[in-house]
Structures are given as C-alpha cells and as structure tokens.
C-alpha cells in the first residue's frame, strides 16, 4: 500500500525535473552559423550615401535595425547608448520609417549611431534578411555576419550572445 505515495511523488518529481531541466537548457547560448554579409548601398538619414564596403574600416561593428514605430527599439535604446560609450561602432538602419520622426527621436533620446541608414522601403532590410524591428547584427571585418539577434538587445542578451564572440 505504501508504494503508491512513493511512486506518485517519484513520477511528479521526474516530470517536473525534466521540465526544469529543459528550461535551463533553453536559456543557454544559441549557436549561430556565420554568414557572408550581402553587399548593399543606401542613403543615410542626412542625405549622404553609404555602401557596405565602408564597414571594412572597423574590425567589429553592430548593425541595428530600428524605427520610431517600434516599442522594442525604445526599450533597447538606453543600452545602445551604453555600448556606444564603451567604444563599439553602431550603424543604425532606420527601417520603414519617417525621416522627421527619426530625427526627433534621436534628438530626444540621444544618438548612439556613428552612421544612420535611411531604409525607407526596407530594401536593405530585405538583403539582410530582416523580419522586423528591433534586430541587431554583429559584423566582423566588414564582411561576415557572426550574430543575428531578433528582438530587444539588453545586457543579458549582450553577455550571452555577443560578448563571447567578441572576445574570441
């Protein structure tokens, strides 16, 4: 008779144990296969033009897709400011947005970007395989994408997904 309580507790613990285990497994570092960066050309917000060749000036740069209609971009903005202070080059891609609103945004919240592409119709986004905003790419040597993160970039994401790639 005493075996049933034991069996039940054992079953419950193993079921929950599995689920807990899987949760911790999921929160680990994601693998990402390195890709070649598709070459692109675009206008900047200030009217000048920009080609992806200019990325070669830096051994490391971030491409950050943002827009004023995007709530997630507002959330990650302060962290981008921090990264910029640490000396990381961030190229903005203002995605399917309005020029006036974009300037207002940068005045109000600060400008972490060294350059800011104006991708009004999402053409650059298409070449890069962007599906929404915010998204952030880590580019090495100006020609290879070593990380593509979809969603808000915060300290936790940075430490888990980006920092290990930079130290290498």
């Amino acid at each position: 008779m005493k075996i049933y309580p034991l069996l039940t507790i054992l079953f419950v613990i193993s079921l929950f144990g599995l689920l807990f285990f899987q949760l911790f497994l999921n929160s680990g570092i994601e693998e990402f296969d390195q890709k070649k960066l598709a070459p692109f050309e675009s206008n900047l917000l200030n009217g000048d033009s920009f080609t992806s060749k200019e990325l070669k000036n830096n051994s490391l740069s971030l491409l950050n897709v943002w827009a004023t209609w995007c709530v997630g971009c507002r959330l990650e903005h302060s962290y981008l400011m921090e990264l910029e202070k640490k000396g990381i080059t961030i190229i903005g891609i203002n995605y399917k947005d309005d020029k006036e609103k974009a300037f207002k945004w940068l005045d109000q919240f600060g400008d972490p970007y060294s350059e800011n592409l104006f991708d009004e119709k999402g053409e650059v986004g298409f070449l890069l395989g962007v599906s929404g905003a915010p998204e952030t790419f880590l580019i090495k040597n100006g020609d290879s994408v070593v990380m593509h993160h979809m969603g808000v970039l915060d300290e936790q994401v940075w430490n888990n997904k980006f920092a290990p790639l930079i130290d290498k």
Partner: protein
C-alpha cells in the same frame, strides 16, 4: 497616476490574500463572515486594478509599457478594451479577476467550509505574486516618449478572440474550487457530504472550458485560413487535458455523491485537473514549446510558473497520502451496474488525457535524451491513438445512462440490445447509400445513433414514470453526440482543391464551378489589403465568397481572411494563397459537410450548465 494606483491595489490584494491564508490556518476565526469579507476585499481590489489598466488602454496611455506593446491609437475602441488580455501580463490579470470572483461566489454559498477558501487563496496568492513581481502590467516606459504604440496582434483583432480567453479562464479558474473543497475535506476529515459541491463546480468549470475551447477552434477555423478546426497544437492540447480530467471529475463526483464511493479518486482528480490546467498555463507561457499561441519568452517566468505548479501538486498529494482514509474504498460493483460504467468512464478519460499530455511534452523529453535533436508530434499520432479510445468511450456513453446504481442483473437488456442492433443496421445502410462506405464512417455514425436513441429512451421513460431526469446530463451528452456526428461526417467527406485563376477564369470542383470574378483593394483604419470575389456555382445556385489578404502596418503582419459561405449542411471555404500576377491568385477551396455541427454540439454542451439537474415530468 492611475497605473500606480492599479499596481498598489494589486499588491494590496496580494497581501490581503496572504493574510486570509495565514489567519485561516493559524487562528481559525469563529465568525464565518470573516472569509466572506476578506474574499470580497480581495476581489474588489483586483477588480479596481483591472479597471485601472482598462483606463490606461482606453486613454492610449503609452507610457505604460504593456499598453504600448499591445495597443495602438488606430485600433477600434472595442478592440482597445479587449487588447487588455491580448498579451501575457494583462491576460494574467484577467485570470486573477476571474479566480477571485469564483472564490467570492463559492464563499458566499458555502460558508460552512472551514479551510476551503484558504486553499483556493494559496493558488490565488501564488499567481498574484507572479503577476506583481514578474509580469507586472503596470510597468512604466519612462521617460514618456512620442511612440504611437505597437498593435494588438492582427490575428487577435476579432470578435471570437475577444471572448475566447475570458471563457477559457472561467473554466481554468473554476478548477481551483474543487481543489480547495477536497483539501479542506482532507485536512479536517470532514463528512463525505462536504465533497458534494465539487459536482456543480466541476460542471461550471467544464461548461466554460467547453465554450472556451470551441470558440478557439471556431476562431482558428475562419481566421488562420487553413480550414481545419483542430490542429493538435500544444496549446489546444493543454486545454484539452484539463477538459478531459474535468469530465472525469464530474462523473466521479456524481458517484461519490450518490453512493459514497470513489472518494479518494475524486480527490485525486481535483488535484490532477488543477495540475493539468496550471501545467497548461506553464507550457503556453514559458515558451518551452513553440506554437501560434506562444507569449514572449522569458525563462524566469517559466521557472516561477513551473514552481507554482510543482508546489500545488506536492501540497495536494502530500495531504492526500497523509490524510486520506479508506472510506468508500471497498466497492462491490457488478459489471452491469452504473458504478462500473462510471469506472470505465474515468479509466478511459484519464488514459486519454495521459496520451494527449504525453504527445504534447514528448518533444521536450526527446530533445533532452537525444542531445538536442528536435521532433514534432503531429496530428497523425494523436488521431491514431485517441480516436479508438474515444470511440469505445462513446459506446459506453450510450449504454451508461441506461444502467442502475448497484444493478447486478442485466437491466434494460432488451432496450440496450435493440439500440445497438438498430443503430448498427441503420448506420450500415446510411454509410452505404449516402457516402462511400468506410469503417470509421460506419462506426462513427452507429455510435452517434446509439447515443441519440439511448437519450431519447431516457426522456420517454421519465415521461411515463415518476422518475426524475437530469436535463443537464441530457444536454451535455446530446451535445457530444452532435459534435461527434459533425466530426465524423466533415472529416471523412471533405473535398478540397488548390488552383490558380486569372480574372473570369473558372475551375470545376466536383459538381460545382468556381470563378474568379473580381479583385479589389481594401483600406481600413488599421489595415489594407486585397479582396478577391469568387463565385461558386452549384446546380442552379450561385454563392459569392470574398477571401482577403490583409496587411497590418502597425505590427507589419500579413494575414489571410478566408471567404466562407456557412450553412448548416456544408461550408464552402476559400483561402487565398499568393498573388501570381496582375489579376491572378493561387487559392484553395474546401467543401466541408456538416462542419457547423461541431460548434453547434459544443454550444449545446455549454448550455448544460443552465438547465435543471432534477426534473419530473409527472
């Protein structure tokens, strides 16, 4: 200011709920009104907090992060109101409101229960703490910015969606009540009579679960554009598991009330069904399984929810094994007795729910033991393993109501024999004449006929005698019969065809012809897109269908709106694929006979809640 007030009220209700638990367990108050007033205060605080969040939504207060991510100034006001439960945090708040409401109703009607409400408040408190600390809907997005808000997921901008979650939550939250009653019974070694309210509360919970699940299925049918009504999606399954367990609980508690048997089994089922609904909540919200319903992923949330579920299950089973006694354990039941029928019912329902749960979490187990490989368990597995069980269960459902408590001789043998024989014969004929014969068609129809005949017999018998009849049971069982009929006919006799049409071109499907008549651009407040007009000609009847593809700029999502011509006999269903050229579209047509019976049956099952359980015709 208003969001801060809402947050304060939420914290206040959390503390209040904790106070109720501690006072009830440490210094049980003599005055029974204590629980009533404490529950009322908790409910009011959560209600006002809910109102505060609604105000933020209706006034487009985008300084509140949750409002900014789930609403948009262009959204029609009705959807702004419903957008509150469009995301994780808000839907939790709705759940809390409903749970606090149920507890209040329970305490109002059952003031003689010493600790029931304390146990219910343990669940309420845990979820309140989860909301306040890890999923707070009142979090601000500061400094206040110029952003115009994101959008409610366009798939959710829909009438069925706005009432689907509340109904489902009424059901999920309702399962907390039987748990509380059972725990109080164990703790205080109460009389078996104290378990009686479990029956009506499990019926309440079951009805709302039925309605909620079927609304979800109806929504998926016309909104997702695939033409199916059940996908064995992890989220659907995690609602189906508690539904099956709750169905078992209803029957088990009927036996407990009538014969004082299955007592421990009823108690165990209250724990299992609550665990099932909390585990479902975990599966949906932790992002551990990906599905169309998934909320934003956050491992911390998942761990906390899993912990809540774990604690409740351990608490329940510890009390169960320490305190349950042998009352009602020895049951003499002949195989022709009602007791035995209830036993079969429970054994099959619990097995079915275990099968569905296993299929749902199997990908997780597989991923762990295979070192990261991923598989999905799809509809073929579920159909293969559940359909035979369900058919046997339905067979016993036809016989069960005709048996008697403690019956040891074959009662009603003639009627049962006649029902089985005539149903099989009739179904054999019908399947041969109207449909191309198939085994499932034959078995499915035979069982539906048996169900209907046995219910009719019951009603006639009560007309001719002074026997009481349970109309609620009749409605529930009849609804299931109609639903089964709809499933059998529509899944075995659907016709579908994919095609590409230019303007004014036609294609024939079976005996009917489909023509692409017209394409036009549609423009609304919150979306724009293409609408294509198809005509569907069948004999001398011409139907018009208007499927659409929509683009929602605020959330930049594209959706398909199926063009559906609904009728009780059959649905004609056209969904648009890709635009091929200037005026050409790829599309898919599906003709689904009797598919409406599925939801008609579900509505009748829901109505079981509102009819009397004891009625005499004479």
């Amino acid at each position: 200011m208003i969001p801060e007030l809402g947050n304060f009220l939420l914290i206040f209700s959390m503390i209040n709920s904790l106070l109720l638990i501690s006072i009830a367990l440490v210094f049980p108050p003599k005055d029974k009104r204590f629980f009533l007033s404490a529950s009322l205060v908790t409910f009011l605080a959560i209600f006002l907090s809910f109102i505060a969040l609604e105000i933020s939504f209706l006034t487009d207060d985008f300084s509140v992060l949750y409002v900014a991510t789930n609403s948009n100034p262009n959204l029609p006001i009705y959807y702004k109101f419903a957008a509150l439960w469009g995301g994780h945090e808000g839907s939790l708040l709705l759940f809390l409101l409903i749970l606090a409401g149920w507890i209040l109703v329970f305490v109002f009607f059952h003031r003689d229960h010493k600790h029931s409400s304390a146990f219910m408040n343990i669940v309420l408190f845990a979820l309140l703490a989860f909301t306040v600390f890890l999923s707070n809907p009142f979090e601000r997005l500061l400094p206040i910015s110029s952003i115009s808000g994101s959008d409610l997921n366009p798939l959710l901008q829909d009438f069925a969606f706005t009432i689907h979650p509340p109904m489902l939550y009424m059901g999920y939250a309702g399962l907390v009540i039987p748990f509380g009653i059972a725990m109080n019974f164990l703790l205080n070694q109460e009389k078996v009579k104290q378990l009686a309210p479990i029956r009506s509360w499990s019926v309440v919970s079951w009805s709302f679960l039925t309605l909620g699940i079927s609304l979800g299925s109806w929504w998926a049918y016309y909104e997702l554009g695939w033409g199916g009504w059940w996908f064995w999606d992890p989220v659907e399954n995690s609602a189906l598991v508690p539904w099956l367990l709750c169905t078992a609980l209803i029957h088990s508690s009927i036996a407990t009330n009538a014969r004082q048997i299955f007592i421990n089994w009823t108690i165990a089922l209250t724990i299992l069904s609550l665990a099932g609904s909390l585990l479902g909540m975990f599966l949906v919200r932790s992002g551990i399984i990906t599905s169309v319903h998934s909320f934003a992923l956050d491992p911390d949330r998942g761990i906390f929810l899993l912990l809540i579920c774990f604690v409740i299950v351990i608490l329940g089973f510890s009390l169960f094994f320490l305190k349950s006694d042998s009352r009602g354990l020895k049951t003499d039941m002949g195989i022709y007795s009602k007791e035995f029928m209830f036993f079969i019912n429970n054994a099959f329902l619990v097995t079915l729910s275990a099968i569905v749960l296993l299929g749902t979490i199997y990908p997780i187990i597989y991923e762990i033991f295979s070192g990261g490989d991923q598989i999905t368990v799809g509809a073929p597995y579920f159909n293969m393993v559940t359909v035979p069980f369900a058919l046997i269960l339905l067979f016993f459902q036809a016989i069960g109501p005709l048996t008697k408590w403690g019956g040891n001789k074959i009662d009603n043998l003639n009627s049962i024999g006649m029902i089985i024989l005539s149903s099989t014969a009739l179904s054999y004929l019908v399947s041969n004449i109207f449909f191309s014969f198939s085994l499932y068609e034959f078995v499915g129809n035979a069982i539906v006929l048996m169900l209907v005949q046995s219910l009719t017999l019951l009603v006639f018998k009560s007309f001719n005698s002074k026997r009481k009849i349970n109309l609620s049971m009749i409605a529930g069982h009849l609804g299931l019969a109609i639903l089964t009929f709809g499933i059998t006919i529509s899944s075995l006799n659907s016709v579908e065809k994919e095609f590409v049409l230019q303007k004014n071109e036609s294609v024939s499907v079976g005996s009917s012809t489909i023509t692409l008549e017209n394409t036009q651009i549609v423009q609304e407040d919150n979306y724009y897109g293409d609408r294509v007009t198809f005509s569907f000609q069948e004999e001398d009847r011409v139907l018009k269908l208007y499927p659409e593809r929509r683009f929602y700029p605020a959330s930049r999502m594209e959706t398909t709106e199926a063009g559906i011509y609904p009728s009780i006999y059959k649905d004609v269903y056209i969904s648009l694929g890709q635009k091929i050229g200037e005026n050409a579209w790829a599309a898919k047509v599906q003709i689904k006979p009797l598919v409406r019976f599925i939801w008609l049956g579900a509505i009748i099952m829901f109505l079981a809640l509102f009819v009397r359980t004891n009625i005499k015709f004479k």
